[in-house]
């Protein structure tokens, strides 16, 4: 069922920019159109590109945002989330927790 929804109306997660748009709905309560515009501006792509896996795989690789393929030497997992937080200009809880545990700089809100 989840797969059918994903194919029928979903953005596609890390295949495209689905997780990034989701983060803006989740962190800033942005409605879908505003969330897409925000992410498109930050990535310097068109809103239409956000759901295009060809364009977004290249963009994600260039910006180190992680993607479906686990390429050697490229950011994965929490490493990619460090870059996502920076590119989108948002706080990601698990990234802040990582910084705190590793003795790195942590925003005062954590």
């Amino acid at each position: 069922m989840a797969c059918t929804h994903s194919l029928a109306s979903g953005m596609g997660g890390v295949r495209t920019a689905g997780d990034l748009v989701a983060r803006m709905e989740m962190s800033r309560s942005m409605k879908i159109e505003k969330a897409k515009e925000y992410v498109a501006n930050k990535l310097k792509v068109s809103v239409h590109d956000l759901s295009d896996s060809t364009v977004m795989t290249r963009v994600r690789e260039e910006l180190g945002l992680g993607c479906v393929a686990q390429l050697p030497g490229r950011p994965k997992g929490i490493e990619a989330k460090f870059n996502i937080a920076k590119v989108l200009g948002i706080e990601i809880n698990s990234v802040n927790k990582f910084k705190k545990k590793a003795g790195m700089f942590v925003p005062s809100t954590v």
Binding site: C3, T4, A8, V14, A22, E25, M26, K31, I78, N93
Partner: protein, 355 residues
């Protein structure tokens, strides 16, 4: 007049004429409009819905550019054991691998991570285990992950819980005792939800999903609203999703209020405003499926309830679209013709922000 196969709420296909399909859609929207006192679908919206349900292909999808993001309930549990032993795929894998599969194989935008019972109360004793599993999963994944569970206030009633069962008290005519039990259960459930959600947020989770809110009527809804309000103050950055149990808040207590609004009897377009006040980020309205009517009739009701909810909301709205809700048949494995049509209709006609 040509006949077309239409999926019904019980999951089976039945032949219908074009006229019968159109009549079903009109009856569905009128039914919902009357109940919630909201406008029925317009002629253009009815035509759009008719086109989606009469399209003679197995699979229907949104037009490019109309894609939305998907949130989950139960999420990882559906690949291994299922929720309380139901609907699991039986894979011998943990939630971390489940999340990685959803992320890299199934194109999920987000993931819900919950205890096998999928209720807050039983998770209390194993919070440390839940936190450890969440921490490991967050290291190896990219998509947002939130802890999901149901308020499930029924779990607080005797013999499973400490409080008298308001349902039983009501049948005995003990109205005041039933109300008092409801109020005590709300207090205990609110405390548990805040405890678990705080613990998982402190473990690094993006937030929490209060799933199937309202299953125990107005008491359930009040507990989730209060927990959301407390969590928003305690952790300003926490993500909170609230998914509902049905289109209508049952008055188990009958007199409970939040922010001066009586909860019993509220429909989705009214529920969402209270969720916003409580600090919820994403609201998930639910419309239950009538198994004896066509999916098109059910979807006409869904759209009529959900469209004013989306229009009335300042936060994103993700209607629940699983088995037995959101115009989907009440079957464990839902036919793709039904899922894809419902998915398309709720995004393109109700303008949902996600599912």
């Amino acid at each position: 007049m040509g006949k077309i196969l239409q999926r019904f709420g019980d999951g089976y296909l039945h032949e219908m004429t074009d006229a019968e399909l159109e009549r079903d859609i009109e009856e569905g929207t009128k039914d919902a409009a009357k109940r919630a006192k909201v406008p029925p679908l317009s002629e253009d919206e009815i035509k759009h819905l008719f086109d989606i349900y009469s399209f003679p292909r197995r699979f229907v999808s949104v037009e490019p550019g109309n894609e939305v993001v998907l949130s989950h309930d139960g999420g990882t549990l559906k690949l291994n054991v299922g929720v309380s032993g139901g609907a699991g795929h039986g894979l011998d894998i943990g939630r971390r691998l489940c999340t990685e599969i959803y992320e890299r194989l199934l194109g999920s935008d987000t993931m819900d991570f919950g205890h096998v019972d999928y209720s807050f109360k039983p998770a209390k004793n194993i919070l440390a285990d839940e936190q450890e599993d969440m921490e490991q999963t967050l290291l190896s994944t990219i998509i947002p992950i939130y802890y999901g569970a149901m308020p499930n206030l029924g779990a607080y009633t005797q013999p499973d819980g400490p409080f008298p069962n308001p349902m039983e008290l009501l049948t005995e005519g003990k109205i005041e005792e039933a109300k008092a039990a409801c109020e005590e259960i709300v207090e205990a459930a609110t405390r548990d939800m805040v405890y678990i959600a705080s613990g998982m947020y402190e473990a690094g989770a993006d937030g929490v999903n209060f799933d199937t809110t309202g299953a125990f009527g107005d008491a359930d809804f009040l507990a989730a609203l209060q927990a959301s309000e407390i969590l928003r103050k305690k952790h300003p950055g926490i993500f909170i999703e609230m998914g509902m149990a049905g289109e209508f808040i049952l008055g188990i207590h009958g007199g409970l209020t939040y922010d001066g609004v009586r909860l019993a009897g509220l429909y989705p377009h009214q529920q969402v405003k209270l969720a916003e006040k409580a600090g919820v980020n994403i609201f998930g309205p639910v419309v239950n499926t009538n198994t004896r009517r066509s999916c098109a009739w059910n979807m006409a009701r869904v759209l009529t309830f959900v469209k004013p909810c989306v229009e009335n909301a300042e936060i994103p709205v993700h209607p629940n679209m699983g088995m037995g809700v959101g115009g989907s048949p009440l079957t464990p494995i839902i036919a793709i013709d039904a899922v894809s049509r419902g998915s398309t209709a709720v995004v393109e006609i109700a303008r949902a922000d996600g599912l």
